[in-house]
């Protein structure tokens, strides 16, 4: 378990993965974008605006995926006190928050042409918003505390408590919505996906995932270096 606690070993592993991830990103992004914007037909009801889907849906998937990464890292940190897990959560959270913001923004932009409004208090949108707040809280704790280890463990506790919340929010909000506004559930049945749309969607999802891996690894390396810096500073404090 603690094998990769050695930063040098981690760095070596990361350096081996990075080129591959970059290749996958370039390939899938280029082909995916081509398919999404030129190679697939506009939707019959939605017209060209359907192309937002190729960004929106992968971003929404990644938003949830990143949270699970953060939660997994938190669990590892709490149970096994794995030092790299601490940094992994810290590295993944801002990426997740960005994807969440992207899902929110693209969703809102999509909402305007399809529903005539940028924002609806619909179950799925709301639960993603709450997810965004959880990310913000996680990052705020990290920023707010004096000691890195302490901050990380506090943030981990929050992340784990937040996991309990996610299914509840989704479930409850959908229930809450049907009481007031059953009409907005419409979106859930969405346009049935034809393979001409499925392929670019999957390719874009792959590209997003590769992007995540790359940024995540770079951020891990950054965190490790930052950590070294902190320790160096600390060693200054009591130099005699």
């Amino acid at each position: 378990m603690h094998r990769f606690a050695n930063p040098a070993q981690f760095n070596r592993l990361a350096d081996r993965i990075l080129p591959w991830a970059k290749f996958v990103l370039a390939a899938s992004l280029l082909y995916g974008l081509y398919l999404a914007f030129l190679g697939s037909p506009p939707d019959r009801q939605q017209g060209e605006s359907v192309r937002i889907m190729y960004v929106h849906v992968p971003a929404a998937w990644m938003a949830m995926f990143c949270y699970m990464v953060v939660a997994g890292a938190s669990f590892t940190e709490i149970v096994w006190r794995h030092p790299l897990a601490l940094l992994a959560g810290k590295a993944a959270a801002p990426i997740g928050a960005t994807f969440t913001a992207l899902a929110l923004i693209t969703g809102a932009l999509w909402g305007k042409p399809t529903w005539g409004t940028y924002w609806q208090w619909d179950g799925r949108m709301t639960s993603v918003l709450v997810l965004f707040f959880l990310y913000l809280g996680y990052m705020a704790i990290w920023r707010s505390m004096d000691e890195e280890d302490k901050a990380g463990r506090a943030a981990s506790i929050l992340a784990l408590v937040g996991v309990i919340n996610i299914p509840i929010i989704k479930f409850s909000v959908e229930w809450w919505n049907t009481l007031h506004q059953p009409a907005s559930v419409l979106r859930l049945d969405g346009p049935t996906i034809d393979s001409s749309m499925l392929w670019p969607l999957l390719l874009m999802a792959l590209a997003f995932k590769a992007y995540f891996v790359i940024v995540f690894l770079y951020r891990m390396k950054l965190e490790i270096n930052r950590r070294k810096l902190t320790v160096l500073r600390m060693s200054q404090v009591n130099r005699r």
Binding site: E147, E148, D149, R227, T230, V231, L232, M234, S235, N238
Partner: protein
């Protein structure tokens, strides 16, 4: 070597072996070892920042023992352990007093928190007498001067009957008379078979072992220490 006594918990020797402590990723001290037998006093000495308070908080179970061993009798001694939390009284830099409550109420609440029972009035008054606080018992603590607050905090050692005292700079801000009262209290505790660890810059006037924290300053090593 467990010893029957007037304490609410057994008195056993406390033994530290090669303790080390990291704070904020930095090694504060390493290789701290000592043995404290019932009836003994250990002074922690050392310049500012050498880790006296940190060691006390480690022994009190507020910090995790990350490296080394701490034994109480034959048992390990760890954070959140019941044995630990029934043997220790700790008094740190902060006074742990509620300004709106009177001194008597503060003491009563603390005793109830530690034992679940009320302290008899006589015990409390005897404790207050030691530090010449009897006339202040029914005053709200918010009117106290800094030395009076500190004495109110030290009173706990007189009315709680636990064997291991951890004192962080107990003489701070005390006038001469009260330093003597403190020394007397500590001597009585040792005579009854209790144990004391005190971090201090001032002489207190009670015999004891010395542990100079400057001897345990690490040669700082980035390669090993950073994670």
């Amino acid at each position: 070597m467990t010893q029957a006594s007037s304490f609410t918990a057994d008195v056993c020797p406390l033994k530290a072996e090669k303790l080390a402590c990291f704070r904020g990723g930095r090694l504060v001290f390493e290789d701290v070892s000592f043995t404290l037998d019932p009836g003994q006093l250990l002074y922690l000495r050392g310049s500012n920042g050498s880790g006296k308070s940190t060691l006390l908080r480690l022994i009190a179970g507020f910090l995790r023992v990350q490296k080394g061993v701490l034994m109480y009798g034959d048992d390990g001694w760890w954070r959140g352990d019941a044995a630990l939390s029934e043997a220790v009284i700790y008094a740190g830099h902060d006074n742990a007093l509620k300004p709106v409550l009177t001194l008597r109420d503060n003491a009563t609440e603390l005793a109830r928190l530690m034992t679940g029972r009320l302290v008899p009035d006589e015990t409390l008054e005897a404790a207050a007498d030691i530090f010449d606080m009897a006339h202040l018992l029914d005053q709200p603590v918010r009117y106290f001067s800094s030395g009076q607050r500190h004495r109110s905090n030290l009173m706990r050692f007189a009315y709680l009957k636990r064997p291991l005292w951890l004192m962080d700079e107990p003489t701070v801000g005390l006038d001469a008379e009260n330093r003597e009262a403190l020394a007397g209290l500590m001597k009585d505790h040792l005579a009854a078979g209790g144990m004391i660890i005190a971090a201090t810059h001032d002489p207190i006037g009670v015999e004891g072992q010395m542990l100079d924290m400057r001897d345990f300053q690490p040669d700082y090593d980035l390669e090993e220490g950073w994670l």
